[in-house]
């Protein structure tokens, strides 16, 4: 936890048990539900009238939906970074953040899968992937790897939750009847015996090892959806590493934002301390530098060679139609975070929250820039096509569905935090005890 003061176990339990929504929580949840409903209505219109309600046409056939998909897959990778990589590296300070990271991973990956179905236009044809799918196609790999990653993340969320379920069942008076029933259904069998802990720890260790290659695969395969297509801006052998580094960055940014919000909303200052922000700040700086390095690789080399086909694409990004968005994404998503977070004062909670938000917003625009401008610059010139084919700006239905999916991710996280402890109670108690005994 980072502070030397010993907190009694019962106080930890009291502090970390799920709390009812306050006024702000109700307003927040209502806004999210309304946004989801607007997205659902827009999707109804898309189903009713077809993909023509979007502004996607022959050239830009992957618009804001696929940008959102890549963004969600990217953000979900943080589960493997915080939970698995740091755990295997025997880093203990990240314990209070593991569940935040895992629920971000699960909710993001669920909506990544949903947004792909939204993009299909004819969702009933999704079944054809199972019936007629070709293992040669990267789309097939994506479906396999997303479902696998979702399942592993779910298990990684569930196994460490078992001891906390026992604590919540024991604190029956502090919970509602239906939640008590839910806890009993999910974890009444957990008695906390030595053998149960042994099996559970073993399972968590296996999952931590397993999730790393799967997480790398999920985003590498997503990058291959682009890189296996011969297009200016996508024709790169570097795309897998480029996507993974960006994914870790945006995921860490999201965790920082969530840390700040949960810390403020649930008064968790004793558990999510300034030390956590400081360490996460250093992680974000490292990942920003890494992602910046890959960005330089991705743009400098094609710009140095300036092949005719790449020229227009790069000009549009650097000085043309997309230049404002491009430089915004680079500055806000990488450069400014590096310069702010290298100073200790920049790694305090509030600056970290602002920087975390900037990283997430910058990352969303970066995904948009990876998808759309390339589609507008095909190798063969656009001739004899309607004017609307030559430009792309999402329709209100696309914006509403994208906003609805983002609200959906936040809603899952919000409800999870209402039902389950967002910081592992049992692990916090155990670590504090071990820390005390060691000292």
């Amino acid at each position: 936890m980072g502070n030397s003061a010993i907190i009694p176990a019962d106080q930890i339990t009291r502090d970390l048990l799920p709390q009812k929504f306050g006024t702000r929580g109700v307003i927040w949840t209502t806004i999210l539900i309304l946004t989801c409903m607007l997205g659902a209505f827009a999707y109804y219109r898309q189903l009713r009238y077809g993909l023509v309600v979007t502004n996607m046409r022959d050239y830009v056939s992957w618009g804001i939906y696929i940008s959102n998909f890549v963004f969600f897959v990217a953000i979900s990778l943080v589960g493997s970074l915080i939970t698995a990589i740091l755990r295997l590296a025997n880093v203990h300070w990240s314990t209070p953040l593991t569940r935040i990271a895992e629920i971000i991973a699960v909710s993001a990956i669920v909506f990544a899968a949903l947004i792909i179905i939204v993009d299909m236009g004819r969702p009933e044809r999704f079944l054809n992937l199972a019936l007629h799918g070709r293992i040669q196609s990267p789309i097939m790999w994506d479906v396999i790897v997303i479902s696998t990653y979702f399942f592993i993340s779910l298990l990684l969320l569930y196994f460490p939750l078992l001891p906390d379920l026992k604590i919540m069942i024991e604190n029956k008076e502090k919970t509602s009847k239906w939640l008590y029933k839910l806890y009993r259904f999910q974890g009444s069998f957990w008695k906390g015996t030595k053998e149960q802990f042994r099996l559970s720890d073993k399972a968590i260790n296996i999952l931590c090892i397993l999730i790393i290659p799967v997480a790398f695969s999920i985003h590498t395969v997503t990058s291959w959806l682009f890189a296996t297509t011969y297009r200016p801006g996508w024709d790169s052998t570097n795309f897998g590493a480029y996507f993974i580094s960006g994914a870790f960055l945006v995921g860490s940014g999201a965790v920082v934002v969530a840390m700040y919000v949960f810390r403020s909303a649930y008064k968790l200052e004793k558990y999510i301390t300034e030390l956590h922000f400081d360490r996460m700040g250093k992680v974000v700086v490292m990942l920003s530098l890494l992602y910046l390095y890959f960005n330089i690789n991705e743009y400098l080399i094609p710009a140095f060679k300036m092949k005719k086909s790449e020229e227009l694409h790069l000009e549009e990004l650097f000085t043309g139609e997309y230049s404002k968005m491009f430089w915004f994404a680079i500055m806000v998503g990488m450069i400014i975070p590096i310069f702010v977070l290298i100073f200790k004062a920049g790694r305090k909670p509030l600056p970290m929250f602002i920087i975390g938000s900037m990283v997430v917003v910058g990352a969303w625009f970066k995904r948009y820039l990876i998808v759309t401008p390339t589609l507008l610059h095909p190798f063969l010139p656009m001739t004899n096509v309607p004017e609307s084919f030559k430009h792309y700006f999402p329709s209100w239905e696309e914006w509403a569905i994208a906003a609805g999916s983002m609200a959906g991710v936040l809603l899952v996280i919000t409800f999870f935090a209402r039902i389950y402890p967002i910081i592992p109670i049992q692990e916090t108690i155990t670590e504090q005890t071990e820390h005390h005994e060691n000292n």
Binding site: H132, G133, R134, I135, Q136, W141, I144, T148, F151, I152, L155, F159, L162, S188, F189, W190, K191, T193, E195, Q196, L199, S200, K202, A203, I206, L207, L210, V214, N384, P386, E387
Partner: protein, 295 residues
């Protein structure tokens, strides 16, 4: 005399100087509004399908911009309701296509030369687009390994077909989007007998599965005849063989039934390895659950 001449020159200079802004303003007015340009193109394909394409654009600062959704009425010879070919609306490219309707067959057959008239609202904007009826025929010969193409151009005059001389045309083989010249020059011109003969210089061009390809002769934007096209299929090409074996091998581009073995091995090893481990973990979960239920 010299003084008078100098005065006239000075006056001319002053006059021109004063007039310049006026000319400039007039030019600006013209430029600001733009000048509508409407053109007609007559087409006759294989001596059977006659149609007209109207092209409407706005000329402004030397740039032509297509005029979309503009409506015009097209007439044959006279701008009377009975001679109406059709009311037309331009598309996004400022073009509209209209066929000569069967109801005007009698009028069409009655003369060798026809005038197309275009009206925009009540205003007649084209009245001098005249077309003389014509036809092209294409004949082929093959002697001693030498293949020749003879195209004959005829025009309808004084109630009979007579040879049309000095008609420039492309003669060759139809390829993707144009005509590949059969000989060594781009275009050929008919002689006094209305004939243009070309020796085929293109050997070994691919045809269809039976070795057929299409010969074509095309007259483009001729002042008298418009655009005329005639085509003929000949078995002069090299038969194309379809390599069906291409899809029978195990490769990345084939159907799911022809997946390469190495990919199947890799993909299934990974899937079985990971999902096998996950099933093992589910079993562990069941074990944990059973432990909790045992008293």
């Amino acid at each position: 005399m010299k003084i008078i001449k100098q005065n006239i020159l000075s006056l001319l200079f002053v006059f021109t100087f004063l007039l310049l802004p006026v000319i400039k303003i007039m030019a600006q007015e013209d430029t600001a509004a733009g000048t509508p340009v409407v053109k007609l193109h007559y087409y006759n394909n294989n001596n059977s399908i006659q149609y007209v394409i109207l092209e409407s654009s706005l000329k402004k600062n030397k740039v032509f911009t297509p005029q979309k959704n503009k409506s015009y009425a097209l007439f044959l010879d006279q701008s009377t309701p009975e001679n109406l070919i059709g009311n037309i609306l331009t598309d996004n490219e400022g073009k509209a296509k209209v066929f000569v309707p069967p109801s005007l067959k009698a009028a069409w057959d009655a003369a060798g030369t026809h005038n197309f008239i275009v009206k925009e609202g009540e205003e007649e904007i084209i009245s001098d687009y005249a077309i003389t009826k014509s036809m092209l025929t294409i004949d082929t010969a093959s002697e001693d390994g030498v293949r020749t193409i003879t195209v004959t151009a005829m025009k309808w005059e004084k109630n009979k077909w007579i040879p049309a001389s000095d008609v420039e045309m492309k003669i060759g083989i139809e390829r993707q989007a144009s005509i590949l010249s059969a000989g060594t020059t781009e275009t050929y011109t008919t002689d006094s007998a209305g004939k243009a003969t070309v020796e085929l210089k293109r050997d070994s061009l691919p045809g269809d599965v039976n070795g057929n390809y299409t010969l074509a002769a095309r007259v483009e934007d001729n002042d008298l005849f418009g655009n005329i096209l005639v085509e003929k299929n000949v078995p002069w090409g090299v038969p194309t063989t379809i390599d069906t074996n291409f899809f029978n091998i195990r490769a990345l581009w084939t159907t799911r039934f022809k997946t390469p073995y190495w990919l199947l091995f890799m993909a299934y090893s990974i899937v079985i390895g990971i999902w096998g481990t996950l099933i093992y973990l589910i079993v562990q979960m069941v074990k944990i659950a059973k432990m909790g239920k045992t008293p």
